[in-house]
Symmetry: C5
Subunit: 88 residues, 5 copies
């Protein structure tokens, strides 16, 4: 998993029907965990707010144990970091 900061949300009205109701957030990995230009779109099912530092699961992990086994998702916010600022 990586730690990243939630920058904002993304709206997609025309999308795969299995994605209806999913909340898409733009996450920027912290500097120690990624090269430049590596923001991702992650589905949030924790209720993360803009500016919060979150734990993001990538790949098939994004669908496991999140009730999203049937959704075309490859990144999910699975936790909010308690002391996120210390990782930026």
């Amino acid at each position: 998993m990586i730690i990243g900061k939630v920058l904002g949300s993304v709206v997609s009205t025309r999308k795969n029907e299995n994605l209806v109701g999913s909340k898409f957030m733009i996450v920027e990995p912290v500097e120690s965990m990624a090269k430049e230009n590596s923001r991702i779109v992650a589905v949030d099912n924790i209720g993360a707010g803009i500016g919060e530092y979150v734990l993001v699961a990538l790949g098939s992990a994004a669908r496991i144990g999140c009730d999203k086994e049937t959704k075309p998702i490859d990144a999910a916010i699975v936790g909010i970091i308690d002391d996120g600022e210390s990782f930026k």
Copy 2:
């Protein structure tokens, strides 16, 4: 997932029989989400047009919930971004 711009399509007449009928599009990730030279070929099942900004699912996610579980696909357009220009 990443956001990218649809640049054009790709034609492959001789291909795996499970890919017959699939529409292949060239997608260029937006700058904040990828390093240089990282265009990909994604299967479109939303009806995205050239120039549109789209949400692309990568890896096994490209086959899940898209009725493509039996196709050799590792990238799929799963949504069209409402305000795509703001991400370029």
Copy 3:
């Protein structure tokens, strides 16, 4: 998927028994789709020739719908591009 050019083949006499009969090709991704030094070895089940531009599926996609579900393969040539030169 990515588009690449077939550069040649690879011979491995001593290998996993599930790979017996597989044809291994060296594929170089086109410049717009990869950084430098990113050639891969892909299994060909289309009959691609050296110099041809092909569509390559990566990861688990390389085993799906190719009758290769039980083989340790992470890259497969799944199509030949009609107008490959235009992507180089």
Copy 4:
């Protein structure tokens, strides 16, 4: 798998319920195995200590054979390297 050094732990109070009880560690890959800025968060189920060099499984491998098949995990510490210093 890659070899990395355990730098510390991460606390996430608000998280996916399937992650309750998981211990998250920050791991920095050794220089020969990664580019700069590629630290990851891995779940530890071996009991690795800070400063130890560990073997990390990535992707779906992080959930297999670790009794974590139902958890949204994409990186796991699966071994402690006997002579870790020799790889730094």
Copy 5:
């Protein structure tokens, strides 16, 4: 898959019980197939020797068809290249 040279082995006494008996080798991808600093730890089930050029399967492919479906493995040596020197 990628081609790499076997540099040596790794010993991990304290490890996941599903990895007992696995032989871990350090593999350095050949220059045309990887950026700098991208050595990996791969499980060998072919009997590769130090200095040999091998075919490495990555991701879930490392567990398929290798009788390793239940092991937390993401890289495996699946073949020895006949004319490895030509790829270095």
